[in-house]
Amino acid sequence: MNREHLIELVFLALLFGGLLYIGPGAVFHRQLSHEKPVYFAAGDGYLYAKLTNYAYDAGSFKYLPPYSAAGFNDSIEYHPPLMPVLAAAFAHTAGLHGHDAMALMMALGMLFGALLMYWLVRSWNKTVAMLGAALFVFLYISRFAIGYTWGQVLFHLGTFFLMALFYLMGKQDLKHWWVPAGILIAGTINAHTSETFFFYVFAVFFLSVKFVVRQLPKHELVWWLKQLALASLLAVILSFNYIIIFHNGYGADPENQLRFDKPMKPEDFGAVRAPLLTDFTMPVLIALLVGVAIAAVLACKQAHAALLASGFMFLVGMSNYIGIESLFYRAFQTRFAWPAYLAVFFGITLYFIIKKFTRNTLIIAIVGIALAGFFVQQNYQTLNAEIIYDQQWEGIEWLYANTDPMATVLFLYGDSYDQWVRMVKRPAFLASASDLVAMAQSGTLRRMVQIEPFVVNDVYLLYRKSFFEFGRHAKEQNITIFPAKFDLCSYDYYVIDRRSAYQPQLAQLNVQFANLFLAHNMTMQFQNDHLVILKHRAGGECIA
């Protein structure tokens, strides 16, 4: 190993070690193992934590947990299976909780993907790669960090496979290219299917650009088409089960059909706080845009996969302006990985500045690390996504230890319950705080209250009649799986928070309801500083 390699190795160890430190290390509170998830501030992460924990317990990713499927034990898993399966198997091997393993695999997927992007750029220009890598720290800065802390679980694994495919597109000399490509395409299908779509559009983009700039001789085009066809065939074979489920699940949902709409600005999108280019800060943004312009010129001379992949994902992130409604969410989601995708453009600008002064690898490495450190020093805020209070979790553990696995549990308002109660291993329901307030204000008690059942409801409890034939329990049996008016007195246990950091007046109302319940067929089963858990005598009145 020569001096140059050693410098680069130390550079990479410092950079990626630093990323692990400011990202997952911080979100994990510097501990690998936690009884409760501490790294997600939004519901998606808790859904996949639940599914992973169930795969861990059940030993497979075949069925939804019955407690989240209205009691059905044959409602099949329709989510992409790879992350829960990988995380559950990893959890068993590493001795971690399922949710810890999943959050760690998420982080490692993105970091390893960034390393692949680094190595892809390096195969074009090592200096650009080293300078551009400083941009990776934005993965854990500003709105980009939301991709991790809001639990974009499947996106992280899908992005890892997509980055691996980009890397592979730069390895045309690889013998039997279609074999690893087919496995990686299957990876995207089974991890996060939108990345499969992006890969195929990229393949068309890649070949088109090469054709336009006259870098695609006929024999090479034939080679690419043959390899892509074989890879696709392999991917379909490897993914046959999930493709069938996807086609009958998400694929059959009218929500997922192609629809056109007027372009959407990131600021107007409610579901996710989409990162903006300005989140890179203005000097970095200017360097990025200059880099894009230079890269466009350079790509005409050498249409390298690094330039084309990065340029393509820049365009995908801006595709919300095309006006295809189905792309809005994906466009904004893709932006979470922009720090890895766009690093090459940042590196190009710096390269054209710095090459006038030096080409010394040690100095380049020092500049790269110094820039990364500067970005952290200027923009980084310690990540803390924990939303579950210890006393709330104490109550959940009491439920696990003392109640029947299918005992129904109604939660009254509690801080962040709307995000994380979905991961509780019991049939869980959340009463609408606004409806309870309305009832209190009207002065008239009523049993029918707006309540949200935490059922995994996207595809109406899909089940398999035969290998190719599917049914939907919720539709066939007319089961209410969405928020609706339910009988307030029809649950086995009631979890009632007595304190709230965000809505203390609701906590006061909770206490009044707890007293009311205690006077009507309920008994106190558990209490701590924060909450009480009541048990309801079956079939009895609870409010009057």
Binding site: Q31, F61, D173
Partner: protein, 118 residues
């Protein structure tokens, strides 16, 4: 025919394991050392070593093979684990057992690639 200095490359992999463990130990410094070592060993055992073995038959350089091999092994492991668990083999033991198959397949492919072609 791929001629790799496997002995030296295994030393590189071991050095990589030590480096990964140090980085993990710093990032997760409130975890017991054994937890960190077990976690990094699991990453290596499940993904890196089998990935390296699977890519041995390739003529690419060492780093390229580790990167491609590890990426592919994540897919191979995940897909194999998914289907095997659907067939009733609990994924609780997959992390220990499945990498062995990848390593064996990788070594067999490598040995076959080393045989002189007629």
């Amino acid at each position: 025919m791929p001629e790799h200095n496997v002995k030296q490359e295994v030393q590189y992999l071991l050095a990589g394991y030590v480096a990964l463990s140090i980085v993990f130990f710093v990032a997760f410094r409130q975890s017991p050392l054994m937890d960190v070592l077990r976690t990094t060993a699991s990453i290596y055992w499940m993904f890196v070593l089998p990935g390296y073995a699977l890519a041995l038959c390739s003529r690419q350089g060492f780093v390229d093979r580790v990167l491609i091999g590890t990426s592919v092994q994540v897919g191979v492991f995940g897909l194999a684990s998914y289907y095997l668990s659907l067939m009733g083999w609990s994924l609780a033991t997959h992390g220990l057992v499945l990498p062995v198959f990848s390593i064996i397949v990788g070594i067999v492919l490598w040995k076959r690639a080393q045989k002189p072609q007629v």
